[in-house]
């Protein structure tokens, strides 16, 4: 049975964050042909960077592995074009970081390696995980956690959630994918269920995507163990723990994984990628990216090869109307600013937001008037006004006491602040300080717990 009850997570959140999805949600995904040169970084995931397995001058095919690493938390990198490796060097990423990258001149032929197709019914969970690992699938919602590890949960799980909440303003790639490729989402869901041994699958979608809800309901109609959960619009419902709370009413304990409450959450795009990897053997070398915002001439969703410069993507969407007030990797609430527009598209890039001056807001850092809007809004139940201040001042004991590590960095505290304080930025700094302290404690063998 499909579930049509609208629900949401109870605590914190904000139902009035404007979603700004109208510019792209109705437009079909268009494909951008591969550029003449792609830059493929060796680090597109959480974990150890890949070691390049090709050298300058090598001819590579589309889908051929470029980098691998035997480390536990790692996902291999594949070529997105066919052509010749012209450089293996440090290249700037869009976010301003630098990473070792393989630069390939596209020969335009798109010669593919032969993909191994398969039948899900005949696969064992281990085979599924191996196929997912070989395809280099990572969390494509932005987290970049290697998917094959997620498919091997430390505890038995009974429920798989597909995260179609897409609460981040402007972004509609998951929305469009659910509308256009609903069967593949279901295919990915089934693959994940098989790999993890879960008995039911739920696709959670916010009610502002009625066409996606309809498509997913149609796609899951015949299967009793699959359902669609319609969620009220509330930011940040797409956050993993908030989604679990909203759909299953279970609270993932602090510092624990969703598997601890018997579920695994996967993004819509990741599910599709898993489906393609398992059934078609297709590695992750392209993805759908939302290009939106008031500064974009023709905002839309674009299917683009990994390694394409962001500038090329922007040009494909008609370019920008003047200098944008903010150019962001992903959505404006959680995304980092784009510091280099020639940086490549990576597996985790779900969108590019180019906000004009009317849309964008920035830190002003006026004095806190203790209005407590951030406290009421925080979905993690923190007190951001105090925590932000303590983090900013480096008062680590208070940062520990107020549990900075539980911040999910949704940015809602900064969003609601009438004084436009950089609360989430400070708390991120506090988290980093805390993590450094913990690492040092581990190194010195001191107890991590106070």
């Amino acid at each position: 049975m499909n579930r049509l009850i609208q629900r949401t997570f109870p605590r914190g959140g904000n139902r009035e964050v404007p979603d700004h999805k109208e510019a792209t949600e109705g437009k079909p995904i268009r494909s951008l042909s591969a550029p003449s040169i792609v830059v493929i970084p060796m680090l597109q995931h959480i974990g150890a960077p890949c070691e390049p397995v090709v050298g300058v001058g090598d001819k590579v095919k589309m889908g051929q592995p470029l980098g691998k690493n035997q480390a536990f938390v790692c996902a291999p990198i594949h070529s997105s074009v066919s052509g010749e490796v012209i450089a293996v060097e440090d290249r700037p990423l869009a976010t301003g970081r630098r990473a070792l990258a393989v630069v390939i001149r596209n020969d335009g032929n798109d010669d593919m390696v032969k993909f191994e197709t398969g039948d899900l019914d005949k696969m064992s969970p281990d085979v599924i995980r191996q196929k997912v690992k070989a395809a280099g699938i990572v969390g494509m919602g932005g987290a970049g956690f290697p998917a094959h590890i997620k498919l091997n949960p430390p505890k038995p799980v009974d429920t798989i959630l597909i995260n179609g909440a897409e609460c981040e303003p402007y972004l509609t790639c998951d929305h469009r994918l659910m509308v256009e490729r609903a069967p593949q989402v279901v295919g990915g869901l089934l693959a994940i269920m098989k790999a993890t041994g879960a008995s039911r699958g739920i696709i959670g979608i916010e009610e502002n995507k009625p066409d996606a809800i309809m498509q997913m309901q149609d796609a899951t109609q015949d299967q009793d163990h699959l359902s669609v959960a319609v969620l009220k619009v509330k930011y940040p419902q797409g956050a993993e723990k908030q989604l679990i709370k909203a759909i299953l009413d279970k609270e993932v304990p602090s510092g624990c994984l969703p598997a601890d409450v018997g579920c695994v959450v996967s993004n819509v795009h990741t599910a599709i990628a898993i489906h393609e990897a398992v059934i078609h053997g297709k590695p992750c070398y392209e993805r759908v990216v939302t290009v939106s915002g008031g500064s974009v001439v023709d905002p839309r969703n674009v299917s683009v090869r990994i390694g394409t410069p962001i500038q090329t993507l922007l040009d494909f969407c008609g370019g920008l109307l003047g200098e944008p007030a903010a150019l962001i990797c992903g959505g404006p609430m959680t995304g980092p600013p784009i510091l280099d527009v020639y940086g490549p598209v990576v597996k985790t890039l779900s969108g590019i937001s180019a906000l004009n001056h009317e849309e964008a807001g920035f830190d002003v850092n006026r004095p806190c008037i203790r209005c407590a809007r951030c406290v009421k809004a925080c979905p993690a139940g923190l007190t951001p006004n105090l925590l932000g201040d303590y983090s900013n001042r480096g008062m680590i004991d208070q940062v520990i006491r107020l549990r900075a590590q539980d911040c999910i960095e949704c940015g809602l505290c900064s969003y609601v602040c009438p004084s436009k304080r950089a609360l989430v930025t400070w708390i991120k700094k506090g988290k980093a300080d805390l993590a450094a302290l913990r690492a040092k404690e581990r190194e010195l063998g001191v107890s991590a717990c106070k």
């Binding site: 723990k241 609430m333 510091l339 004095p367 203790r370 009421k376 007190t383």
Partner: protein, 678 residues
Amino acid sequence: MQVRTGPFLRDAVTIEQVMGDVLIALIPTVVAGVLLYGRHTLMVVVLSTLSAVLTEAILTRAPLTPKGIFGDGSAAVTGLLLGLILPHTTPYWVPIFGSFFAIALVKLAFGGLGYNIFNPALAARAMLLLAFTSEMIYLTDAVTGATPLWGTARFSWSLFWGNVHGIIGETSVIAILLGAAYLFYKRHINWRIPVSCLGSAFILALVWGLDPWHTITAGGLMFAAFFMATDMVTSPVTPVGEIVFGAGCGMLTFMIRQYTPFPEGVTFAILIMNAMTPAIDSLTIPPVFGVGASYKTRIRGFAVTAGVVIVLLGALVGIERNEPAIRPLISNGHYLPMHELLRDPDYDVVEVDETRYYVVRDEEGDPLQAAFIAERNGFNGPISFLLLLDAEHQIERVSVLKQGENPGFGELITRSSFLSQFVGMDKDSPFSVGEDIQLISGATVSSRAVISGVERALQHFDQAFFGVDGPGILNDGTFVGETASFGGPLEVEVVVEGGRISSVTVLRHSDTPGFSDPAISGVPERIVAANSAQVDAVSGATLTSEAIMSAVQAALESTSVGQGDELELDPEVRDTSDGTSVANAPFEITVGDGTHRGRAQGFGGELVLDVTVTGARITDIVVVESSETPFIADAAFKKLLPAIIEAQGPVETVSGASVTSGAIHGALRDALNMKEGQ
């Protein structure tokens, strides 16, 4: 491009909008205040707002643009809030000075917006209340004002719409609720603080047996619950903290109203809770997502709440339990309505001798409970007070309504510890100072004035409703009465016609000629006019006046017992006149005619008097040298010297100047060569 950090979307709300919305929410209360109290009110709030904005602009050296001077609007909010919690009669300098204090010392000195510990408007009000009490407390004659207008049953509705005099912004509940609704709609306040604040006061009122609706609608509680306690900067940020804070405000307000002389408890209640805000915040950090409300956290939250409740209730119990016997009649500048005082909505209003008596009558028309306002001159002018008599005509309650006594000293007469001494007394009580009634040290003049005022008021009440000697009507005829005055026996003839005194003639007296003449001619006229033996004495001839009154009383007493024109004196009457008027026997003048100089040690130094004796009588006393406290001693000189000449002997000391009075007597004895104590 400049590197900025996310999020790059921001809610449109700004500090200016929050402050602007608070200003908008205050418009109904301003309008209600102006409608109720007139344009002076508008000036008060405008001045307080302007003063606050200018103080902030000058001290922060704001740029000379309208926006720069207006700033973030928080100064305007502080100024307007302060204006709204001032009495509508306040002089113009009060809002100006108050706003300056609020902004300069309570807000900016602590670091400006967001850093102040105390609510600036309330801190300024507290300062003004303590430093300029008389400008801050406005007490109106509610008995003649609100109650008749609104009848009996609808009193609380009059509070609701705003027809009770008091503080500008605290008057109209409907205006306050309108503004609060706007703030709720804009989500600048939430339910926790107002509900817990009003709710705790409501519950305490129920427990204490008061009318809970009156408790929360009267005075400043409603206004403060929505606009003061919810001040973002000075209230907790955590949800549980907000409830603890609100409950503390409500409970402390109730306590302060019940047990202290301050008419407005909510100011101090919120300031106290402001000081506790950081601690409350720190102890009520909400449980984090995924951590849940751990056992420890829950226990701690429970302990904090329980601790606050226990401390507050403990303080309630710890405060002298004998005090609540008499509760302040005036709660927060407003009076209890007459029907509540008399516990009967069916009462008459009777005017006798310019005093308005509110009387409940029994079936036969005889008065039972009664309430009325009396006045007596105190140290700085008239003290008016409300007397409430029970069905036995014993004092149930005395409340000082209006007084201009010195702050800190004279104003202590408004304390219930003093006023409760009167409870249970009636017209026959002796009112002897030091035995039945203790004076307030430091406020002897004021407290004596209240004591004598209460005594006289009881007598007036008695005369108004029971005539001179009970409800009977005077028998017609001519009667003679005699009493002992200080010069010797005094005899009067009283003619009663048609049940009224038609004439009074002094037949015989031996009082000092000249001094007693005004009394001999004046008092009989007054007695006839008042149809009563109890009238005001003629100044300068108090003793003779009182002797005439006693004699008339004696004559009239003889009528009711039907003894006709017998000349025999009623011994009781003589006792009464002796006891109250002449304290001591006249001086024995042994020195010859002439002017004699006498000295004695006074309060401030030596006191030197010249006493003129003519024909063995004191005819004049002149103060040659005095180092006594001005004003206080002046009263002694002014009152005491003529009285001594009239009495030819020592008289009662002047209250408040007992040392000086003693010195005068000492110097007199010295001049007349008498020994101390004679």
